[in-house]
Subunit: 419 residues, 2 copies
């Protein structure tokens, strides 16, 4: 259907040229498109699985780790999930054409601010081929053309997926250039992509720290950064020990590999005698390895001494750093120094401390007496999630479809001129 070696600037320009056709579709058409894409993926499961097997064999031959091979595998249940995700997106409300504000001037001029698509979005990601489907669905649902640049390990799988999805665009009478795949693995194409200001309206990197750092540093295109989460839980003496154990366990152990999981426990000095041992014992029983400050190690011998690097660590594993602090001030100071502005929590019954913590901690989500694990588009009720923004511009925290839109002002007059 297309040569896979088209340069990325050509792909992006073609996407930009095709985009106005998508921008004027109805929400109903875009939803039908996603439904058809879901069916087409299942109808072409054999082709897709054949391509994925080739990628997996090549990956084995190249000595990829077992965990990377696992991420690369698009098993039949995972393909079903990808199709189901498209169907679920189709059922969400159209993010376009929402009137988010409006007023009438004294002279009768009417101003409305309405949501519109951004244009062409570049998505840069790594091994998981389901991101190809997910990102394409989110962008098209929100009226944006998309240029996908996946990992080289998944190249054949991504080509097979893109071929199926592009054919559905054609079947719906839309230009296939609305969904572009960078079909070659060269790093130079990635760097070229970062220079396409004007052709691309936004780049979203999805993946590890190294990828995100490279994109953020080198991109001339605006980027939404979905970054690391070094999340803290600060425990005061006024919270019940059982509540503290339940929340600390949930935040650390329910799914340790995600960005909203707990990485550092801070505990108020006046809670050490009552709270420290029961909380750490419960975590240890759940398989958590503990790295503590000197006071922590003194109270709980199973904790090994923490290094400076532990306070900065996003373990994404069953490991927890633990530190005793004097009070809420020291907790806020520690979070300011080591936090990544993602999700932070205080456990307390003291209203003054709760209020100060929420006001002064600078993070996307600041919790009182709840687990940091709620920072998630699904948990927030957004239905779909592109990622969790740790930057402050445009979108902050869990991002739903709205994060893929901009606005414009529609202004209606009857011969109005400015005096």
């Amino acid at each position: 259907m297309k040569p896979w070696d088209t340069p990325v600037d050509t792909l992006a320009k073609a996407a930009k040229a095709a985009w106005p056709r998508l921008a004027r579709t109805t929400g109903a058409l875009r939803d039908r498109l996603l439904e058809r894409m879901a069916r087409a993926l299942l109808n072409h499961a054999d082709d897709i699985q054949t391509a994925n097997s080739q990628d997996l064999r090549a990956g084995e031959a190249a000595g990829l780790t077992a965990s990377l091979l696992d991420r690369l595998a698009l098993t039949p249940p995972r393909l079903d999930e990808a199709a189901a995700a498209l169907r679920q997106m189709a059922r969400l409300a159209d993010p376009l054409g929402q009137v988010v504000g409006g007023w009438k001037r004294a002279d009768g001029l009417e101003i409305r601010q309405v949501t519109v698509p951004l244009g062409v979005i570049g998505i840069i990601y790594e091994a998981r081929p389901n991101v190809t489907v997910d990102a394409a669905g989110l962008c098209l649902k929100s009226g944006n053309a998309v240029v996908l640049r996946g990992g080289k390990e998944a190249l054949l799988t991504n080509r097979a997926l893109a071929t199926v999805l592009r054919q559905v665009l054609v079947d719906e009478g839309l230009p296939p250039e609305l969904l572009q795949l960078v079909g070659t693995p060269e790093r130079s194409e990635l760097d070229q992509m970062l220079r396409l200001r004007g052709d691309l309206d936004l780049i979203i990197p999805r993946g590890g720290k190294g990828l995100i750092e490279h994109v953020v540093t080198h991109s001339q295109v605006p980027v939404i950064e979905t970054g690391a989460g070094v999340c803290h839980l600060y425990v005061e003496a006024s919270i019940e020990v059982q509540v503290a154990i339940a929340i600390a366990s949930n935040a650390k152990t329910q799914r340790p590999s995600v960005c909203n999981a707990l990485e550092t426990l801070l505990i108020s000095r006046d809670a050490v005698a009552t709270h420290l041992v029961p909380i750490l014992a419960a975590l240890q029983a759940a398989g958590v390895a503990l790295r503590g400050c000197p006071e922590t190690v003194q109270c709980f011998a199973a904790a090994i001494p923490a290094q400076e690097s532990d306070w900065e660590a996003e373990y994404m594993d069953l490991i927890l750093a633990v530190k005793v602090v004097a009070d809420v001030d020291e907790a806020i100071g520690h979070i300011r120094r080591y936090g990544t502005r993602h999700s932070e929590a205080i456990l307390t019954r003291d209203l003054k401390a709760a209020r100060r913590f929420q006001q002064e901690v600078d993070a996307a989500c600041v919790y009182v007496n709840a687990s940091t694990r709620f920072t998630d588009g699904g948990q927030f009720g957004f239905g779909a999630e592109i990622g969790i923004s740790t930057q402050k511009l445009h979108a902050r925290g869990p991002m739903g479809l709205k994060a893929l839109t901009s606005t414009k002002y529609l202004i209606d007059g009857d011969g109005h001129v400015r005096n």
Copy 2:
């Protein structure tokens, strides 16, 4: 009060360290700060004017143009205006702490999204020293620390202004590092500033096209682009000739040097016989030089033939490009090719054409039967304006204080954990 040769990274880090103190001030304190700054500027008018005279003498000696010297001059009435602008900002509603959304989950967890400051904002600008006052006021009002980098021509004036404003911070018990001035004129400091990701949360360039292009291309810090306006007016036959004359004249001649002024008139072919000559005659009578497509020149001999470059020109002067187009489709296509996504207008009584134009033209502000000159924070009722964004991320169109804020989620539970 401070050495003026502190490197910009040191200035930015000090601003970041001081910022939390500002972030927790009340709106009342920030308003009082602005009121006191207004008074202090007038109390120190002599020092400021002495410094400005030195800058002006140096500028004359260096052979600056008369218009640049005019922009550089901070005359007593202009200083009064700068002080008045601060007082007006003080009277605007606090943009911080606004609850912009919120809901309660089925399990009782409460989520609120509230506005918060961005952090430290870098402002890069050129000759006008009043920007020093204006930008400082807008940033402080919205709870942000600010790093100012003005033009080298205004160096002594800016130092005098910053000295006065910083003393007011000290008098209010706030750290003077909340307002930093890059006190040396080296270009290397500007480029260093663009690399301060993490220390600066946002950079806003205010000035000419070259400055903005340089900042946008090289900045690793997120930028809000306030760009050029090549604004179009598309005239259909169904609009009354007198309405078309009034709006075209207002858009082109009321203030030709600004970004929301008209640069290209598009006219539907079926309106040529009735509308073209009266509109162009009125514009010519108002002193506008006309550059037309072949059909325009044929109908109106005083128009000289337009070159390709005329369709791209932001004249900012009493010059207008004029082109006959077949219909609304060709008008939309021309605007897509040559527009700068700023402000575009259609004059018509045909609802179908009006609707298509508003839906399909991709610009911050799309007008029906009104002048493009309304694209302005003051006209929109925002009270203060940082600029007009021609980008799509974070803010689009006229930007008030809200554009200098982000949000965070405050989440309140009572032992809530994720299942």
